[in-house]
């Protein structure tokens, strides 16, 4: 009976629309009403869950995007704004957006083009240092001209400067990579990531470019129309802006000529070449575009933290981004978004709250554990268990990739209207685009 009911429900887009709106309103109300810090996490997660539900609904795609946008951009910030958790949630939200964008970048490299990259965090570092150096006094150490820090208004330009410089590094990495394949590629990229990190950690000598292991501090907050951006809720919107940009780029490239070339190279290099796809250019484009997403978010990260040093860009970070991509489902854009969100929210919110809760139980004497097993130390342990469980039960990723389908009926109609396939017709039909 439930099945029947659900079938009916899944057919009616109006019922679904009604459901999602009610759901969002109720959970948002819950979030709005809960100021208490300990349990506000539940409605917060429930509101986020609405996005997943939305993804599975059978309603108009444009409407889906619109509802999703409203939830992310309006409902969540608005309903969280009353609680004391507001900035904490927005900080997690900002981190989620940053890592989602990076995972989408890595997804282009690993998921679309099939190039295993274990040093992806390097591009994030490049973006972060780009703004870090010029947005603080650091640039005075080596720049022959100009006065630093540059004002926070220049941040908006630096988002794109960071993207471009990261893309250039992506191409630099691509050069040795073109000769090696498969898992050899993994180790070259790992080496590249480590090289970048170590060099950044040591560039206080002979010329002080990155201030070495002391890091760069007092980075200018971005300014917009003279108004400084320095709280997480404000950075949330900056990250959201870039996130939307990234989503736009990914969605449009995925099923374009370039996107198809990436997947062709992934599936079969030799056949791809035989079809006229240039390997070098295609792979480099994947590295460059993927890297540029990271570069952009790197600048946001630097501005948000107001401090950069090399400890944020370790090999572990690279593997975590890879985990987000694989866990979510390689090549699957919604999957990767979910993967990144799950990992970040788990690590930065849920597991912290869980261990705080367990700690409070143990201090209250309900739970008695020796210090060596104190729950405050267990976050990574629990995360490890969750990773194994997820991987075993969702072997294709949380949301596996599905190929985009074309409307075969429409193509059939349109093809029928044209003369049948043949040389003369083939020429006239596409010759215009053949140079």
């Amino acid at each position: 009976m439930v099945k029947e009911w659900f079938h009916k429900f899944s057919q009616s887009s109006r019922a679904q629309l009604f459901f999602i709106i009610t759901y969002v309103l109720v959970t948002c109300l819950g979030l709005y009403l809960l100021e208490d810090s300990a349990s506000a996490i539940f409605p917060f997660l429930l509101v986020l869950l609405s996005l997943l539900i939305l993804y599975y609904m059978k309603i108009n795609v444009k409407l889906k995007w619109a509802i999703g946008f409203i939830i992310i951009a309006v409902m969540i910030p608005l309903s969280a704004s009353q609680g004391s958790n507001f900035q904490a949630f927005m900080d997690v939200g900002t981190l989620v957006l940053i890592y989602v964008a990076m995972s989408l970048g890595l997804n282009i490299v690993v998921g679309f083009a099939g190039l295993l990259d274990l040093g992806f965090i390097a591009f994030f570092a490049v973006g972060a240092y780009t703004y870090g150096i010029f947005g603080s006094k650091q640039a005075n150490h080596f720049m022959p001209f100009g006065h630093y820090p540059l004002p926070g208004d220049t941040f908006w330009i630096f988002i794109f400067v960071g993207a471009i410089i990261a893309a250039i590094f992506g191409i630099l990495l691509g050069i040795p990579v073109l000769r090696v394949r498969g898992d050899y590629l993994a180790i070259v990229t790992l080496g590249f990531g480590e090289i970048i990190r170590i060099v950044f950690n040591n560039m206080d000598h002979p010329i002080n470019i990155t201030n070495g292991s002391m890091g760069i501090s007092q980075i200018q907050p971005p300014r917009i129309f003279g108004y400084p951006i320095d709280t997480p809720s404000e950075f949330y919107y900056v990250a959201l802006f870039i996130f939307i940009l990234v989503i736009y780029v990914v969605k449009h490239l995925e099923n374009s000529k370039l996107g198809r070339s990436w997947k062709a190279v992934r599936d079969n290099e030799i056949a791809a070449q035989a079809m006229g796809i240039p390997l070098v250019k295609t792979k480099l484009a994947a590295f460059a575009i993927g890297a540029s997403f990271s570069g952009m978010m790197g600048t946001v990260f630097a501005a948000k933290q107001m401090f950069v040093d090399a400890t944020s860009f370790t090999y572990l970070e690279s593997t975590m981004i890879l985990v987000m991509v694989i866990l979510g489902g390689m090549g699957s854009v919604p999957g990767v978004i979910l993967g990144a969100a799950v990992v970040i929210i788990l690590n930065n919110q849920v597991l912290t709250d869980l261990s705080n809760w367990m700690t409070s139980l143990s201090t209250a004497g309900i739970l008695n554990v020796p210090d060596a097993l104190s729950p405050s130390k267990m976050q990574r342990f629990i995360f490890g268990i969750l990773l194994v469980v997820f991987a075993l039960y969702r072997t294709q990723g949380l949301i596996p990739h599905k190929n985009k389908k074309v409307d075969a009926e429409r193509l059939k109609r349109e093809a029928a209207a044209e003369p049948p396939y043949g040389n003369s017709e083939a020429k006239t039909n596409l010759e215009g685009s053949d140079s």
Partner: protein
Amino acid sequence: MKLKRFIPLMAVLALVVGLLAGCGSGSSSGKSLKVIKIATQTPLSGGSATLGNAIKLGAQLSVQDYKAKFAKLGYKVVLAPYDDMADPKKGVSNAQDIASDNSILGIVGHLNSGVAIPSSSVYEQNHIAMVSPANTAVELTERGLKSVNRICARDDFQGPAGANYAVKTLKAKKIFIIQDKTAYGSGLASAFRDEAKKLGAKIVGYEGITVGEKDFSGVISQAAATKPDLLYFGGVYAEGGLIIKQARQQGMNMPIMGGDGLDSSSTVSIAGPAVKNVYFSTVVGDVTKTEAGRKFAADYKKQFGKDIEGYSAYGYDCGGVLQQAILNAIKKNGGKLPTRANVETAVRDIHNYDGLATKVDFDNKGDNKYAKIYIYKFDKASYPATEMTEIQKTK
């Protein structure tokens, strides 16, 4: 496909939980003692967790010791330990969490300057007083933040003090410096280097190592070849102990010196007998010389089953300073719960707090006026070491 069927179920469940949570939240207060929280934020997992944990445990003991004083005023202090994993990102994210918990009035932390600097920006925005036991990076207090204080000495005091001792007392003319490429280690080592040069010693090498590795023989053979009179190490005991051991194995019998990162029982257990003739500078006086100190060490051992570390006492003192300031603020506020801003000012106004390890009195930047440097020497393979001299702040 299965998930699809699962979703509506989950959604319904979620709705119910959400509503329940919404209704149930209001009813969880009303105890006899008003709860105040203080947080610690240090690495509790990962490579430097020994030190981070020592700070947390020290603070935990101080909370117990202040229990009675707060109970008298009708309050109860609870410690909220956070794990920053030595990761700046996690630190900031925790800082936001801390800021969102209105009952938290102050924080003890961090261990790593790289985490403390970005996190303190969040504390500053939310007026959460931070008392640092361990961040020696000059930068931290130079930014003029009202909420940031530290009881330990800065690199630009500790490093030169060590150099002074090395060059003047130990008569070192050729010094080889190894540092661990962290903010702490390289900050200390470069301050040491600059002062030693000024005093006329020759720096015959300045090399970096990688934290977490165990084999440093490459750097050590290089050092041995230069035949220095003194080997200086900027870093903490995990690598320091091994460097001491491996240097002695290669026949380097000259004095080895380091900073407060070597002030740990682990230095002895790692280096073993090789630890003889090792010096280190630290801000902590010998805790076990005083009656209170011995009691602290005994309590600590009893409660947590381990010996105190240098940072345990720092953690204890930070907790003490913070709680004393909260007490002052409560009193000033006529027994009512003080705001975070009240506590922030009260911490900065602490005068002549008599701590276990150090006296505390903050200057207008939040640095401890009383931060003294002590030079210790390991005469035998046991901890604590012997105090050689103490150096007053001259500035």
